[in-house]
Every structure is written in C-alpha cells, then in structure tokens.
Amino acid sequence: MHSSLVSKFTRRVAFGVPGDQALPTDPVAWANAQVALLPPIDVLEPNGERRQDLPPEMRLLWSMDEVMHAFERHRRTARLSLKKAKELSTKDYQDYRERTIFSPYSRLEHWKEVQARETTALYGQAPVFERFWHFWSNHFMVAPGNQNNDTLVGPFQRSLRPLMLGNFREMLWNAVTHPGMLVYLDNNRNTGPNSIAALKKWTNNSINENLGRELLELFTLSPSAGYTQKDVEGATLILTGWREMKPDKWHKGQKLGTYFDLNRHEPGSQEVLGKNYTAHFRPSSKLEDLVTDLAQHPATAEHLAKKLCVYFLDDTPPAAAIKSVKEAFINSQGDLSTVHRAVILACWTHLESTQKFVSPETWFLQVLTLSGTQPPRTVPVTKNTPGIKTPYLLGDLGQELPRCPQPNGWPIRSSDWISKEMLDRRLRALGVLANMSQRNGQAMQAMRCIVAGSQRDIPPNEMAAQLLLKPEVQADMRLAWLAYFASPALLWS
C-alpha cells in the first residue's frame, strides 16, 4: 500500500501527521487507541502543556456553579442595559453594550473556547478523539444567539466529551437536559397549557416545540422515520417543565444546572410513536422513558450510522459501511466507543473508494498540523488587537465558530463546502498562513514538512509530487504551500 493512502487515512480520522514524522505502522490500532480514553481539553502550548500565562477571565469555566453564575451575570447585565436604553443616546447605548456585553461575553467567552478547541486538536493527546468530538458537538448543536446563552455554549459542548466513552442514551439524556440545550432551543419557556403555572396565569408562556421537534428530527429518528406532528406535540408536552436552574432570588440554595418544574409540566399522559408515556409516581420519568426509547429505536441507529458515514467517509457512503456502523450501534446497545471503532474500520476498509472534502475548520487544522505552524494566538483579546485572529480567519473561510446559523449544525457534506468563493478563500488563506509562519520564524520547518510530506502524501503520478521536487518551487514559499495543500490529494481526504 502506498504511503499516500495511510496519509489519507490519518487526515480522514484526524488532522494528518506532519511530513517530518512517521506515519503509524498499524493505522487502525493507532486510531482505535485514541477513542478509548478521555483527553483533557484546555488552551494548550505546542508541547501539550496547559498555557500558564492566561488571565483569569481567559480560563475555561468548568463547574456547573461557575457556568450558571456567569450566565446569570450576563443575563443581568443585558437586562440592565435595556433600562439604559431609555437614558442613553443610540451611539452611547451601542458603546455601552459593546463594553459591558459584547466584549466580555459575546466575544471573550467564544474566543477562549475556540482557542481551547483548536489547540487541543493540534497539541492534545488524541486528535482522533477530537474529530469525533467535533462530530458530536455538531450533532447536538448549541450555538450562541438566543436568550444570552453565550456562556453556556462552550461548557455544553465540552460536557459531551466524557459521554463519548459511554452509551448514546446517556449522551442524549445529558444533551437534552443540559441548561445549554434547554436555553438554546427555548425549552425553558415550554409550558404545558394545563399546567398549574398556565392555569393560575403565573406565566404567559405556552407550548414551545423547538426542542421537541429537534429531539425527533435532528438528534434521534430523523424525518425519514415517518413520525408525525402529533409525535412532535407529544414529545413537546413530555418536555414541559424542564428548565435551567440559575442563581436567582426565587431559587436560593438550590442545586444549579437543570431542574424539573412540576408547576409548568403538562399533567396526564402523552403519546409518542403510538406509545403512552404515563407518570405513575414521578412525572419527570416520562422524559427518561422517552429518551431511552428514542435512543434504542432502529431509526436512530440508522440515522446516526448514515450521518457518521457521511461525515467521515463520503457524501454517498457505501451501503456496507453504513450497515457495519449500524450493526455496531445495535449490537453494542449504543456503546459509543464501539461505534467509533466501527467508523474507524469503515474509513480504513473503504478508503480507496471514498473521498471527503472537509469543513473549513477541519481543513485549517490539517494545514496547521501538516505544516507544523502554530495557529494565530487569540488571547488576550480585544476587538482592536492587531493581527489575524483564529475565529475571524475561520469566518473568512466560511465557518465562524461557534456561530453556527442553524440548530442543524454546520453542513457535513462535501458539496456544501465546495463553491467558487469557498475554494478561492482556502487558496488565498494558504498565502496568509505561509506568511504567518515566516513572521513567526517557522517557515523553514514548515518547508521541510511540506517537501517531505509531498513525496509521502501525494501519489507519485499526481502533478504536485513532481512540482515540489523542483528547486524553483521550493524557493517560492507561497507556491510550495499551494502546490502541496491545494493538490487534489490533500484537498480530499
């Protein structure tokens, strides 16, 4: 087997191996080992150590208490700013919002998370694990932009990581009942029309189908399972009352995070997919049962297997690949390590007959990995800090993390990322990154990786392999980066 195929596999399931390092001798075992453990995530140095020089506000929030306090502070600041709206001129009001809300919450919160996500992918213990985390944090999308949820986004996404070693049912349960999701999809407003709160007019909130619909459509069954609006309504009613617990004056001393508000919950039993969900003793058990049933439904296994194969293998994955992942899911009762190993094996088995054009983020991480270049530093940040910033560069490439426009996540098909403007930007970004590597004194090292990589990663009959042997190409840094990274062999993985 030619080394270009092994190289393709390392880009398929991770971000590649730089040209000056050895490819794994047993690629499948190399990848499997990386989904068997939980690598820590943080803002990392190139040597894999946690960055020590970060100011306190640039550290990730870990405990649910910290997260909910930050969320409440942000909410209070935002509410206070509405009061200011009447006192200040529009210009002063905008400046005030920039200083008190956008800089500390909408920008800082996201940039430190992006920095952690990218440096962990580049310098962490298990890049294969990171690729699967990118899949799951896209499957259960929580993006900023609703109800001041900015501080919940990163903690939600990171909360999925330990669950990747467990069962899908547990991941689904945690995703659906995490305050990040309850706020993002408005379930904190979802109130049963016959609930105590509605009958006594404590709230004018009513049914909100956002989470109920996505639970069936995006997270588990998918529309091809043929459920109806009635099922969406049933799931929505079962979800009534599940809300985030924040440190406000009405709930002093309560455990922060998620709680079940019986007063907002629709009483009685509800039907989903022909099954009645009844609360005999504990109304909150209705959701537990529904999540269990949905996680075990064959349509869920089918949907997830297909989506994983589209994400990792090809827009039209081989039926055999989908079948093997689906069987792994069903036979292991949704054990995600088993499922991940099945995906890895399918990637290896069907390597030659499949091809994937990856998202801008994955491509950006491939380029940095394979050229041994450090990403633009994002912290400490202000809007006016000069220089390239990773989130903005990703935005220029068409994927400004974490601002995913829709709850269905970033596109996973190759065809969604191929357009004239998208390709043009990737080509131009190579020039920008090449120049950056030079400014940082990493140009020589990058060139060594690229020249070595070109002979190893590109099939000898492809033009780029020969181009990069020419001294005049090696002497022109931008051209060399382009010949390597824009070669079809490297653009497809």
Binding site: D396, S419, K420, E421, A429
Partner: protein, 389 residues
C-alpha cells in the same frame, strides 16, 4: 462528463424535442430582466419603514418610537425619512410597497423564519433548496451571484449560481493560478472552479475597487457595487443576492427618525441607491426585492423597542416596477384587528408577491410555480397590477 452534467444535458434535450421550447425573452441576454434580492435578517419593522400615518392608533401604541415626520407616500402611509432615495423612486413610479404581508408561518422564531423565507416551504427545515434556486432551475437561468461566502439556502437547488464576497486576503499570482489550474485539471469536482477563481483574482472590473479601502469594499455600498458590476454586464448573472445580517432585531432602543432601526433603513437606502447608479441603463430591466423573516409587534415594548411579530412590509424597486403603489388590505391597529392582539396580521401571502416577481423575471406562471413545486402561494387579487401583471 460527470453524471450531473450528463443529466442536465439530457433534460434540456428532452424539453426541446417535446415542446419546441423557445426562450421566452428576446434574443439578447442584455434585455433579460434582472433580480436583486436583499435579505433583511432579524425581522424588519414594517410600521417603522412604512408608517401608517393615517391610522389614528399609530401614535397611541408607539409614543416613543413612532415616526412623526415621514416622507409622504399617500394620505394613509409615509416612508421612513432615512429612505430618501427610495422616496425619489416612488416619485418616479419605481417603488411599490406591499404592506401587512408575511408568511403563513407564525412561530416568531428567527431560525425557523429565516429557513422558511429561503426555502419557501412553510414547515421549517423541510427543504434543502431555496425557492429562487428552484425557480432558476425551472426557468433554465444560467447564472446567479450571491454576495456571500457560503451559498445561501435561497439560491440552492441550482448549480450555476456562484458566490462572491469582498476578501481582504491577497489575490493569487499568475503562477499560483496556473499551478492550481494544472493540478485540478483531472479532478471532476474541482476542475470547474479553477477558471472562476482565476477570473475573480484577475477581475478588471473589481480591481477598480481595489483602490478603495477594504472597509469601504465590505460596506453596504461596496457590496451593492460588487453585485451591480457583475449583474450589469451583458453576460452577467441575472439574479443577485445581498445578505444584510441581523441588524433589524431591535428589541430595545430602536429609535425613531434616528436610531438603530433607522440606521439599518439608511443602509438599505444606500444599498439600493448605489446599486441603481452602478447598474446604469440596466436598472430599467431590474427589480430589487426585500425579504425579511417576520415583522415586529405593533405596539412598542417597555424598552423602546419591538419584539418578534408576524406581518411586515415588502419593497419592490426598479425599472420593472410599473406603478408607485401600496398594495394592502389594511385592517387597522386596533387590538382586535391584530394577530393574537399583538402583531400586524398577514393579509397578503408574501409568497404570492414572490410569485409575481418570478413570473415577471423568469416568465414562470403562477400555475407552473405550484405544479413544479417551485413555490406554493395563496394568490391575492389585491396584487393585481404589481409589476404590470
């Protein structure tokens, strides 16, 4: 030939042999109508853009943010004072307004609303193609351009549309472009793009813009110029799209004659003004259409702003507009006349307005649009005469 190109060719061949199909519009591509779509994301406040000055309730429900000095349209409606150019178009008979209009969707969610306004399908997330993309495919329009980085949903469903967006990153050199073209020559997915990328890196018409600062190019005027420069050329795209993201969601301090909503309307006015100037004589062949996901609450809220609502207004501007007129079934701003006692109701299905635009620009009849699954809509006799149809 890849599979897709083959299928497309056979499809064209079939329609020629069975129907003796002839293009509906004259010989020269230059005479063919142009469409510029402006997406106003966030929910434009129709009662600020086109205030119903003749409605006695207006000042009562909007004491702080009502528009007191609008530009005059007729006895019942005015135009926001920041929309000066559009007012001059009104006077020239080139601006039409449809008011108290919207989708048959009342969920008031940005996500869902922005999906629906682009897919034209009233259930969110049901379609992966947009109503303009499907219309272009149906009418065999060969080009469209979105001033955007990703391909917006509204233009999907058609593989000839391209995207372009002002880019600060240095252009590729000749030798870079030549290398890319050679490397991609054997790759069926990448090959079609090397020429397009070459054109956009060497584009003479756009290079005249390089003298301006990047900030200017990326400004709303810059985007309008970029669209016009592409669309005015004889072989240029017939459909353009500009995406104004998220400025219209004014829950607080939205202002009146001045303020944040007024700033966005001024942007819209500048966009249309610049586009008209740069289109030159082609303006006579053009219609600009504004699209927003929903309107805002009729009454102001406690923070001098407005919340998510239902009905809004829709602008049509350009040489293809035949009459300065407001198309509306105005039911007044009394609580009982409002949708759920809070929002301007949808009295005209805005999809029917879009259908008129598609009929005028692509010569697709209302019946074809429905039968071919391009765009469902509820016809309204109130729209008779819009765009001369």
């Amino acid at each position: 030939m890849n599979r897709r190109a083959f299928l497309k060719q056979s499809a064209v061949f079939a329609s020629l042999s069975f129907t003796g199909f002839a293009p509906a519009w004259g010989q020269g591509h230059a005479d063919k109508p142009r469409l510029l779509v402006v997406l106003l994301r966030g929910g434009m406040d129709g009662l600020t853009a086109v205030p119903p000055v003749g409605d006695v309730q207006y000042n009562t429900i909007r004491p702080q943010i009502g528009i007191n000095k609008p530009l005059r349209l007729n006895a019942d409606f005015g135009l926001h004072p920041q929309l000066e150019t559009m007012h001059s178009m009104w006077q020239a008979g080139q601006l039409a307004v449809v008011h108290s209009t919207g989708f048959q969707y009342t969920g008031r969610s940005h996500f869902e609303g922005q999906d629906i306004m682009q897919t034209g399908v009233m259930k969110p997330y049901m379609s992966s193609s947009g109503w303009i993309g499907r219309a272009m495919e149906q009418a065999k329009i060969n080009s469209g351009v979105a001033i955007s980085i990703p391909m917006p949903l509204i233009l999907r469903g058609h593989n000839k549309a391209i995207t372009q967006f002002p880019n600060w990153m240095p252009t590729l050199r000749d030798r870079d472009l030549a290398t890319v073209a050679k490397m991609w020559a054997d790759d069926p997915m990448l090959r079609p793009y090397s020429d397009l990328i070459r054109d956009s890196n060497l584009d003479k018409s756009l290079s005249s813009m390089n003298k301006e600062s990047f900030q200017n190019i990326r400004s709303i005027r810059g985007l309008a110029r970029s669209a016009a420069i592409s669309m005015r050329s004889e072989s240029g795209p017939r459909v353009g799209l500009i995406d104004m993201t998220h400025g219209f969601d004014t829950h607080a301090s939205q202002g009146a004659e001045q303020g944040s909503h007024a700033d966005r309307l001024r942007d819209l006015d500048q966009l249309i003004a610049t586009f008209r100037t740069d289109m030159g004589p082609q303006w006579g062949n053009t219609v600009v259409l504004t699209i927003t996901e929903f309107g805002r609450t009729a009454a102001e809220n406690g923070t001098n702003g407005t919340d998510h609502g239902v009905g809004s207004c829709c602008f049509l501007a350009g040489g293809l507009v035949t009459q300065a007129k407001i198309y509306s079934d105005w039911r007044g701003l009394n609580k009982s006349a409002l949708f759920e006692e809070r929002d301007l109701p949808t009295t005209i299905d805005v999809s029917a307005v879009y259908a008129k635009v598609l009929e005028r620009v692509f010569a697709l009849s209302s019946q074809t649009l429905v039968e071919k699954g391009v765009l469902e809509h509820k016809k309204s006799s109130l729209l008779n005469g819009l765009l001369g149809l």
